[in-house]
């Protein structure tokens, strides 16, 4: 067969060759090493370099981690323990500070006996998010909601939640699980009222406030129903007016009167008690929830044919994107009072949320605009030809597709915003990273402790942000699979 001329004459193989194993150096671990680590001089050098870096990192930090102390009441005690256990001059981490003060990093100055409330709030957040975030996959929903339910209830029990609230939380969580098995859109009403419930759980006070906030749009809707036959636009304007007027004029007094009639309140917790990750998450979640709709509106405005609307959107977006968030936070803390009627004063956390929302919305608008621009013109025309009006076309046709395209950008905006919640330290709020650590270090026992809080806080941020980015990848893949 190896004869050259054999090849030029007709040739037929009678028996097929079986598949053979590759030569030793071409298979298994050796081949893997050769192709992946030592495939050439450059690669070998890189491998060595990589190994060196790893060795350097491990050798520098290993004993520091290995010699960590979890049980001490002050830095000096830590040092003493390290010196006693591993000898004089040994270095070691003092994670005891986390053990001692974890609650401050997590809950800030929230009253200890009410820790269960934020826990429940964020547990139920998962239920509220389930119809939105995990709508497609039953198995993921099952896992997420199952874990949430177990963790939340366990934490609430440990944190000493009253039985009534335990039952309430358990009921909602179980309802979520059941709905998740049957038809997750049953949970949508809960998702809709959740924002108000969440605010109420966190800040406490009377439930009548949130209830009357909800009643406002109800009146608005009634007005809209009544007028929508006459003129949809007029109806919309009136509906908004009615809602806002109700909130401004009636809601406060009504809530007070109702509270007097039928007290429905839990312990109020003031904003200055918020701190640590509770603060970050509150600002982050509120910012995310608010900036997405605002971003959509801005993006639509920027894509509008109406010159004035478009220019306003452009100016707003470019202005917000052109300045650092920190200056906006300064505006929130220093200037907002200039711009409001004399004597008005509102919660600093709320102000920060507004600024963070505006900031994220400007970025979001650009991301979504990219998605809108990527839609073929035919989609708009088809919607027009079917007789859908502008808003219906946007809601049913354009936005679902544009948002899908923009998911990676949206999520990275979220991640950026969540990371930026640490900047609130510069306006005197107790973020988990700097202010809270400074506060902990202001105590004589923990003076001089730096690395451990950084590592702790950093790790939590990493988990959350990394999780979000993985989730966006999952979502992207899922939507691609679904529609193509």
């Amino acid at each position: 067969m190896s004869d050259t001329h054999a090849q030029t004459v007709p040739f037929v193989r009678d028996t097929m060759l079986p598949s053979a194993a590759p030569p030793v150096r071409e298979s298994g671990a050796i081949r893997w090493l050769r192709t992946n680590l030592f495939s050439g001089p450059v690669n070998t050098v890189l491998t060595l370099l990589g190994a060196l870096i790893i060795w350097f990192l491990v050798s520098t930090f290993w004993d520091w981690f290995a010699h960590s102390v979890w049980n001490a009441s002050s830095l000096n005690e830590c040092r003493a323990i390290i010196a006693a256990t591993w000898g004089e001059g040994a270095r070691g981490a003092c994670f005891a500070v986390i053990r001692e003060r974890w609650n401050q990093y997590v809950f800030g100055f929230y009253p200890v006996e009410l820790y269960w409330r934020p826990t429940m709030t964020f547990g139920l957040l998962m239920v509220a998010l389930a119809p939105v975030l995990f709508s497609a996959s039953l198995s993921i929903r099952r896992v997420v909601l199952g874990i949430t339910a177990v963790v939340t209830l366990w934490a609430m029990v440990v944190l000493g939640a009253p039985a009534g609230w335990l039952i309430f939380a358990a009921a909602v969580l179980v309802a979520g699980l059941v709905a998740s098995e049957r038809n997750i859109s049953w949970m949508l009403p809960f998702s809709l009222v959740y924002p108000l419930l969440g605010v109420w759980f966190l800040w406490g006070g009377t439930l009548w406030g949130p209830i009357f906030v909800l009643v406002g749009p109800l009146f608005g809707w009634l007005a809209w129903r009544a007028l929508s036959r006459v003129s949809p636009m007029l109806a919309t304007v009136v509906a908004i007016l009615v809602t806002v007027l109700f909130w401004l004029v009636l809601a406060g007094d009504a809530a007070r009167d109702a509270e007097a009639l039928l007290p429905l309140s839990i312990d109020a917790v003031r904003s200055d008690r918020f701190g640590g990750f509770l603060l970050s998450l509150t600002i982050g979640v509120a910012g995310i929830a608010l900036s997405l709709p605002l971003g959509i509106v801005l993006a639509l405005a920027r894509q509008s044919d109406m010159f004035l609307i478009k220019s306003l959107a452009v100016i707003f977006i470019e202005f917000i994107r052109g300045v650092p968030l920190i200056t906006l936070l300064f505006v929130a803390s220093l200037l907002l009072n200039y711009f409001l009627p004399p004597g008005t004063n509102f919660d600093i956390i709320l102000r920060v949320i507004i600024m963070v929302t505006i900031f994220a919305a400007a970025y979001m608008a650009e991301v979504i605009r990219g998605g809108l621009a990527a839609l073929p013109k035919g989609q708009y025309e088809a919607a027009d030809a079917l007789g859908l009006d502008y808003w219906k076309a946007q809601r049913l046709i354009v936005l679902p597709q544009a948002l899908k395209i923009s998911i990676p950008g949206i999520v990275s905006t979220f991640i950026g915003m969540f990371k930026d919640t640490t900047l609130v330290t510069f306006v005197g709020l107790y973020d988990p990273l700097k202010s809270m650590s400074d506060a902990v270090r202001a105590n004589v026992e923990w003076k001089g402790i730096y690395w451990e809080p950084f590592i702790f806080v950093g790790a939590i941020f990493f988990l959350i942000c990394f999780g979000m980015s993985r989730y966006s990848m999952y979502l992207e893949r899922r939507l691609q699979r679904d529609h193509r």
């Binding site: 000096n76 003060r101 401050q104 800030g108 100055f109 929230y110 009253p111 200890v112 003031r270 200055d272 008690r273 701190g275 300064f330 803390s333 220093l334 009072n337 200039y338 004399p342 004597g343 004063n345 600093i348 510069f426 306006v427 005197g428 107790y430 202010s435 400074d438 506060a439 270090r441 202001a442 105590n443 004589v444 003076k447 001089g448 730096y450």
Partner: protein, 319 residues
Amino acid sequence: QEGSTLAQVKERGELNCGVNTGLVGFAAPDASGNWTGFDVAFCRALAAAVLGDPAKVKFVPTTGQTRFTALSSGEVDVLARNSTWTYSRDTDLKLDFIGVNYYDGQGFMVRSDLGVTSAKELDGATICIQTGTTTELNLADYFRANNMTYTPVNIDSNAEGEQQYMAGACDAYTTDASGLAATRAAFADPETHIILPEIISKEPLGPAVRHGDSNWGDIARWTLNALIAAEEYGVTSRNIEELVRSSENPEVQRLLGTTDELGAMMGLDAEWARRAILAGGNYGEIFAANIGEQTPIGLARGLNAQWTQGGLLYAPPFR
């Protein structure tokens, strides 16, 4: 009286008090978020005087940057944040300092092994300094006046200053002497640090209110004075009930509202001062409890002793 601060505070049922974000001894939240400290005690006394309950205070932590704005924008009703009373702040910034609750001066702390015994020897040194404070200006002036140079290391908070100083990132740490003492006291090895003898500035620290609402200014001013006067007359939180009943001293009687209705002149009731003193004790008690020699801060009374003891504290008469 509608828009007046007093009316607002009463209506709100809570006093908004601007404090430091965290300066041990003066104002700092503890692990569960309860504020304690020398400045905090004044806020509580004021709340007690106005609202009848020392707990009805909302502490608004302010940074060096945000403190005066917080006050002038109405976010806080009174600023009790170890701020120096200066001409321009009183006039240009439109604040009213209502008195001095701590007479301080700017000093320097160095390591003793640096071999420096006087601030005059600090030529060329690197000095840690908190931005946005009067100390920054004093430092510049002092070194210029003495024809010396220095490199500032700007820091954002006291905690950070300590970190830099401890690590040797600056040769000297300058701030108000009280702060230095407090910082030094908290060190693991206080004896290896010395506070240089030069006090390069006058730093009368005091609470401030907004310009323009004189009645509110009076309330704050006389609450402070009541605390100081109480110490002078020996009125303490422990013996006050008894003195209310038995004091013969007419000044004490007026102070405690047993005779004359001094409170009414400011729109308060008769017992305002009594409550203020009960909240955390008189000036001396507050001092001793928060920054006195028995505390880790360990400050001596010094200039802050009563005038009768050779100090500068001198409350105007209650009549």
